[in-house]
Structures are given as C-alpha cells and as structure tokens.
C-alpha cells in the first residue's frame, strides 16, 4: 500500500521523525517497506512509502489512520483522531432491506441537490500522491476516506435505484455489468446490493455501471457497509475481481468504523459538491462485543525470554495507549475493537516483541542435551548417493512433473500434469543431453544417477535409478541397497564440505571440437607437448583438452587430444576455430621433434 508521509503527519500531534527514520522503524518493528520515494519539492515536498502490510494486520492497517496509529505506538507519539460533524438526524424514506447475515452493517446516506464536478486541488494531489486517479468530487471523497481510514465506500446514483435497496444473495446466473464495462455472471454464493429490478453492485467488491454516479447525477445514496470477510474473498477470487474494497473487507475490517467513515464522507461531499442530507439509516444487528485478555509477565517471558519485564510490558501498553489494568505481574488488556487479530497471550507477546525490536533479544544456545536420533531413510539415501558417486556415477535431479504417470495434479502446466511413476524417463532425457555435451564435460562415457520420490496410485516410494552408457537400472531404495550390497551402517559418514568457489554459468551457444594426433619420441618431448596443449586449451578452449587416444609403434608414441571451442556470447564459425586451431598447429610444427599425424 502506498502511504504518504504528510498524510500520516495529520494523525500525529508531534512532528514525525525524518522519512528514512520512519521507514526504518516500520521495517524493524512492523512491516516491510518496499520503497521510499520523494515527491515534489519545497512546500510541496512529500515522501511515499510502499508498505507491505502483513495479513494479520490488514484488518486495521490498510489505511493512513491505521499506519499512523501503529507508528504513534512504536514511537510513543500522540495519535489524534480527526473530528467530523455527526450525521444529521434525518430518516431515510428509501426502503432498505438486509436479507443476508453476510452483511454485517449497512449505513445508507442520501444527499440531494449535489453538483458533480472537479475535486479541490489538495484532494486531487493527495490521491495522486498515492497513485489514485481523481475522478470527480463524489468518487474522490469516497476513495479518500477509504485510503484515510480504511472503510470502503460506494456511491449510487439515486435516480437509478428502482423502488429500494435490497442486500441479498445473487440469483443463479444473475448478471451484472460492472463500472468499467466488464460483465460478470453471479451465483447464490455471491452477495449483491440490488434494487427491485436487479443487482446494482457486488457487495464489498465492486459497483455496477447501472447506478454509477455521472456528471448529471444530482441525488446520491452513499453506502458505508461491512460484509463477511470470507464471503467477500470467495466472490472476489472466483470472479477474479480483486479491488481496494475487497482487500479490506476480506481482511476483516471492523464494522465499528462505519459510522465515523459515513460522517467523514458526508462532510466532504457536502463541502465539495453541496446538497442536503435527506436521509440516514444504520442497520447494525450484531455489534462487536468488547474483549479483555488476561496475561502475566511469565506468559510473555516464556516466549520472548527473560529480558522482558513487567515494566517493559507496561511501557508498551502505555505507548500504544491501550486500556489495561495491572495486578502485580498480571495484566488485563482491553483489546481495541480494530485488533481482531489479538486473541491470546501469544499475540500480546508479538505486540511486545515487535515494539522492543528483535535486535534487543540476546541469542542463546539450545537449553538441552544434544542427542541425535538416527533417521533410517535419510541414512540409506546418503549411503546410496555416496556409493553411486564412488562408482563414478554423477547425480542429477529431474522434474517430478511429467506427461505420464498414475497420479495427476489439478491445474498443472500442460504436459506436466502427471507425477512421475519412475525416474527412468527423466534420466533418459538427462543422458541424451549429457551425451551430446560429453566432449564439453571431458567425458568419454556418461554415467548418471538420481534418487527421488515416485508416485503410484495409492502410495509414494523413494527410488534409485542409475544410467550406465544409456542402460538404465531402477529399483526401490531398499532393493537397490540389497542388489548392490551397500552396507548402510558401515558407510563412512560422507559429509562433503561445501565449496567456496563460485558457480560459473555455461555458454548457451554450440561448441565445436577439433582433434589433434601427434607422434612423440621421448618422455621429455611428450611433456613439452603436454605443456603446449595445456597452455593452448587454457587460453582458447571451453574446457581442458582431453587425451582420448594413445598407442605406441616402434619407438614412437601417438597421442591424440580433443579440443573444445565455444564462446559465451555467440556461435563460433568454423573459420574462426580453424584460424585459432592453426596457431596451435603452427607452434607444434615449429618444434621439429613433433610430427602431426
């Protein structure tokens, strides 16, 4: 969520610390700050934080008011709530009927005689600073209040509401054209705001085009409501319509805020668009009951360790301006209604830990005896891998997802919907790949192995497959151990140390091989040749030259080397390689002791 520094400041009595300090505080005590950008200059200067609100705090912190309250607590500053004139006492004549418990609260405010137009410059700027486009003085007020205090608000054109408002389950295959033109087909699991003719909005998700506010609109009904979190989430996911509103409702935004939000948006609209409030109605059946949680210092210490004292806990509660009573080491905390996420002592431990900062917690070693329990399967796997490597097999890891198998996944990638029932197919492909690359790898034969889980209709098993020159043998882990006479208990604990040399990415371009056979007559001459070959291949080749053939005839020995040429940035041409290779031939020919075959 994009958050403006100046906007936060409106909620804090004292002057906020510098933006960088605020960002740091948020990162180490609350949420991840993905970016901090400066906007404008001089008087117009502002800073925009992009804050990743954690899921458990999305109910109270997806707003400037919420972040400011958290920040005030963390910095022990004074949070000040904004004040608005209360909603006038006017009875709404428009019929309103709530036919579903998924609607937790519904406030409707009707204003007549408005003039839709541009928003004042400060409002346009403020919205734009956090990436929200200005639309008109009505929609902007609704969006502003949502970003300001978290309450999503929808505004209907009163002239398009036929008869009255009904909050009800959608009919099977009922359709609605949303603002923006997209059409959605609904089911009875979706909640809609409808008039006597049809759906006007998908509750908590998005409004319809039918009753959208236009430049001609003169009478509006403002909806400040609250809907069941799970229901909103399901509808918005199913219809793939995730909106600013749905994000807030699905995270259990408190219905207690609705009245304040209604007063705020009404005041803004009256100020910017004129008009008179002609009716207000608040349907709020099940109010949120106040909750008190009792916890003791020891409840917190057993989670956060002994550096936390009763004094620390009291300090944190005071800094957040929480209402609580303390009897010796026991606290009774009145949980603020907007903190539905606090349900037990463990959550209070999180409040304390977050506030004090985890950097203040000292590290400690585990407080009990070290006794390692052997894991049979793990030991067998390790023993098998070690045996394979000792037999010159090289380990590969191939995909679990394949195009054939007994078990398949729902919504998997095309051609990868099945879970492998054996390792052989993957290993075969690996063999083909590596066989082609054998010269590059300096291998005369390719020997591979893989240890991995395979899936059958009713069970999964760990299998071992080895591939020797293209021939594959695959067995269940235990059978493999038996067949190869691997003594698991006698295997020296093979614990290779991780190398420190960095990975080198290979070239994605083809390679070219060149062979060279030379007659040598003495060991001295041979070592001279070997040096030449090594120096040349280190300088010009993709891997060390390999000796691939050798025979002796009379007093001379023929040695044959293979050279691999490959560039990291392009495909080499035969001419280029021929030219490079000729340089080697020339050097060798210049040495009279050698005869190139």
């Amino acid at each position: 969520m994009k958050v403006s520094y100046n906007w936060l400041q409106e909620y804090i009595e004292e002057t906020l610390p510098a933006p960088e300090t605020v960002a740091e505080k948020i990162i180490f005590h609350a949420f991840e700050v993905e970016s901090l950008d400066k906007l404008g200059t001089g008087q117009e200067e502002d800073w925009i934080f992009d804050i990743k609100i954690l899921p458990d705090r999305a109910g109270d912190c997806l707003s400037h008011c919420g972040i400011a309250r958290e920040l005030a607590g963390l910095l022990n500053l004074t949070f000040k709530q904004k004040e608005f004139s209360p909603l006038p006492d006017a009875t709404l004549t428009l019929p309103l009927e709530i036919k579903s418990d998924l609607c937790r609260r519904y406030i409707a405010v009707q204003i007549d005689g408005i003039a839709v137009g541009k928003s004042p410059a400060w409002l346009v700027e403020r919205l734009e600073s956090v990436g929200q486009k200005s639309i008109n003085n009505i929609v902007d007020a609704a969006n502003f209040v949502m970003l300001d205090m978290g309450q999503p608000i929808h505004v209907f054109n009163r002239a398009e509401i036929d008869g009255g408002i009904i909050v009800r389950d959608a009919h099977e295959n009922e359709t609605i054209k949303l603002i923006g033109g997209e059409e959605k087909t609904l089911s009875p699991n979706d909640l809609v705001i409808a008039d006597y003719i049809g759906a006007l909005a998908i509750a908590g998700v998005k409004g319809g085009a039918e009753a959208e506010v236009t430049t001609e609109t003169t009478s509006i009904v403002i909806e400040v409501a609250n809907f069941d979190a799970t229901a909103v989430r399901k509808t918005s996911r199913r219809l793939t319509t995730v909106t600013d509103a749905s994000k807030r409702f699905e995270n259990n935004f408190s219905p207690e805020w609705a009245h304040r939000a209604a007063a705020q948006v009404t005041a803004m609209i009256l100020e910017h668009a004129g008009g008179t409030v002609v009716g207000v109605r608040d349907e709020y059946k099940e109010k949120i009951s106040p909750r008190t949680i009792t916890c003791s210092t020891s409840d917190i210490v057993r989670v956060l360790g002994p550096t936390i004292t009763t004094t620390t806990i009291e300090e944190v509660f005071r800094s957040y301006r929480y209402q609580f009573t303390r009897t010796e080491d026991t606290f009774a905390l009145d949980v603020p209604f907007w903190r539905a996420d606090i349900v037990g002592a463990h959550d209070i431990a999180e409040e304390i830990g977050r506030y004090v900062g985890y950097d203040t917690i000292p590290p400690a070693p585990l407080p009990f005896e070290k006794s390692i329990e052997k894991n049979d399967t793990d030991e067998k796997i390790t023993a098998v891998k070690w045996w394979c490597a000792s037999q010159e097999f090289r380990e590969v890891c191939t995909y679990t997802f394949r195009n054939s198998g007994e078990v398949s996944v729902i919504a998997g990638a095309k051609g990868k919907e099945k879970l492998r029932a054996h390792l052989s197919d993957g290993l075969k492909e690996s063999f083909e790949l590596n066989r082609l690359n054998a010269p590059l790898l300096g291998l005369t034969e390719v020997k591979l192995f893989e240890v991995g889980t395979v899936f059958f209709k009713d069970k999964e098993s760990i299998y071992v497959a080895i591939c020797d020159k293209g021939t594959i043998q695959e067995l269940d882990l235990d059978e493999f151990i038996k067949e190869k006479h691997i003594d698991v208990s006698a295997t020296p604990s093979f614990i290779p140390r991780l190398p420190s040399s960095p990975f080198v990415m290979w070239s994605l371009y083809p390679f070219i091989t060149r062979d060279l056979a030379v007659w040598v007559s003495t060991p001295e001459k041979r070592s001279l040749l070997e040096n030449m070959v090594r120096e040349f291949s280190e300088k010009h080749c993709a891997s060390p030259a390999t000796l691939f053939d050798e025979f002796t005839k009379g007093d001379r020995t023929s040695v044959a080397y293979r050279f691999i040429f490959q560039a990291s940035d392009r495909t080499l041409t035969d001419e280029e390689v021929a030219k490079t290779f000729q340089a080697l031939l020339d050097t060798i020919s210049a040495e009279t002791a050698f005869e190139i075959r």
Binding site: R233, R354, A364, N375, A411, E417, N434, L498, S501
Partner: protein, 230 residues
C-alpha cells in the same frame, strides 16, 4: 577446473549435507516425510484456516480424484507428523522437496527444496531461535555473517519473523521463522501451557544460489551435468 575422473553429487545434495552437518552440531536430528500429503498435515494442523488464500489451487497442487490431498507446499507436514509420534524436548530439521503451483522464472520453480527446523521443549524462547539461526548462518556463510530479525506473519507461528543474513556486504531475506502457535500444539495433542517451541524454514535452492552465486533456480532441475561444478 572440475575433476572428471570420479562421480559427482548434485549441488543441492552438497548443500543439504552441509546443512545437516551444521545442525547436527547443535543437536538437530533429521526427519523426513511424504511429498504427497493430506490437507490436515499440510494446512489444518498448521493453523492455516480453510479459506486461507494459500490453499487455492492457484498456489497449491491439488490431486486429481483425491479430494483432501495436495503436493506439500512446505516440509512443515513432517513437523506435524513428528510431533504426533514424539514427545518433547527435541530438535529436528526437515529437508525435502516441496511444490508450488506458480509461474516459473529465474527465482521461482514449481518444485524446489526446503529445510525446516523445529525445536520444542519446556523452556524454549525466541532467544534460542536467534542463537540457533545465528550459529547456522555464521557456519554456513562465514564467521563475519550477521543476521537481523524483522516482524512477519505465518499462520503457524506467533510472533512470526523474517530472518535476513548479511553475506558479502549484502542483506538477503533467507528464512521465515517464529514461535510455534499454541493452536499447532493443541492440534498435535501437546498442552501449550507446558511447552513452547520455535520453527523456521528456508529455501535450500535459495541458500545454495546465494552462497554459490547460481543465477537461476531452474538450472538445478535440468538433469544437466554442467550444473555439477564441484
């Protein structure tokens, strides 16, 4: 230059062995478990509610014609299975393959490896979590390594933490962690009044890639021996 005269192990095996070695020094045993798992062990027991977004098929591989089963999305299923059959105190690590139904790129793969840890006992605090992970990262990346803990959220822990490690002068987000949520203990039949514990989880591929400078997570699963550089 690589020596080609003997067999080689896959780099993820090397990294797993290194991690097992380091945690064994601190008294951690290894636990393993199934890759195809029921939703109880993969989600419910871990305090992940039924309607949690992570359970959607956009993120999790559900199994055709086997309702209630998934490819595990983390190795935490083994933590549950271990607790169901063992009594505290204990310290375990769980290395293994996990699956996520997401678009693949250099940083994301449908299959990858994780190592998770779980310590439960009568007096385990966040201090032990910090001490354990600090020792691990120092041993894994080098003695000059620092770590920092930031608030985070996972349904199976409270408080939840993100652990960053500083390697070669740069901070890397490498590990999710936290104090085991009391609901998780209740779900395996432990009394949360008697035990506390911490858990952590790291991407093995990510650890390997940071440590060894591997640019793309997908390279590990091509069956390409050019990947076995050590």
């Amino acid at each position: 230059m690589t020596e080609y005269h003997k067999g080689t192990l896959h780099p993820l095996t090397l990294v797993t062995e290194e991690i097992k070695r380091i945690f064994a020094q601190q008294g951690f045993s290894v636990a393993l478990g199934p890759e195809l798992e029921d939703e109880w062990h993969n989600f419910d027991a871990l305090n992940v509610p039924k309607d949690h977004p992570a359970r959607d098929m956009q993120d999790t591989f559900l199994i055709t014609d086997r309702p209630g089963f998934v490819l595990r999305t983390h190795t935490s299923n083994v933590q549950i299975r271990y607790m169901e059959t063992h009594q505290p105190p204990f310290a375990i690590i769980v290395p293994g393959k996990v699956f996520r139904n997401e678009a693949t790129d250099a940083g994301h793969e449908m299959q990858f490896y994780q190592v998770e840890g779980l310590v439960v006992g009568p007096s385990i605090t966040i201090e032990h979590l910090k001490g354990t992970l600090l020792s691990f990262f120092k041993e894994f990346f080098g003695d000059e390594t620092e770590i920092r803990l930031r608030p985070s959220f996972f349904p199976f822990v409270e408080p939840g933490l993100e652990v960053d490690a500083k390697f070669n002068g740069k901070w890397f987000e490498l590990c999710g962690a936290g104090m085991v949520h009391p609901n998780v203990f209740k779900n395996v039949g432990y009394d949360p009044q008697n035990v506390t514990g911490f858990a952590f989880g790291m991407g093995l591929d990510r650890l390997a890639n940071v440590k060894l400078g591997i640019p793309d997570v997908r390279l590990a699963y091509q069956g390409d021996l050019r990947f076995n550089q050590w």
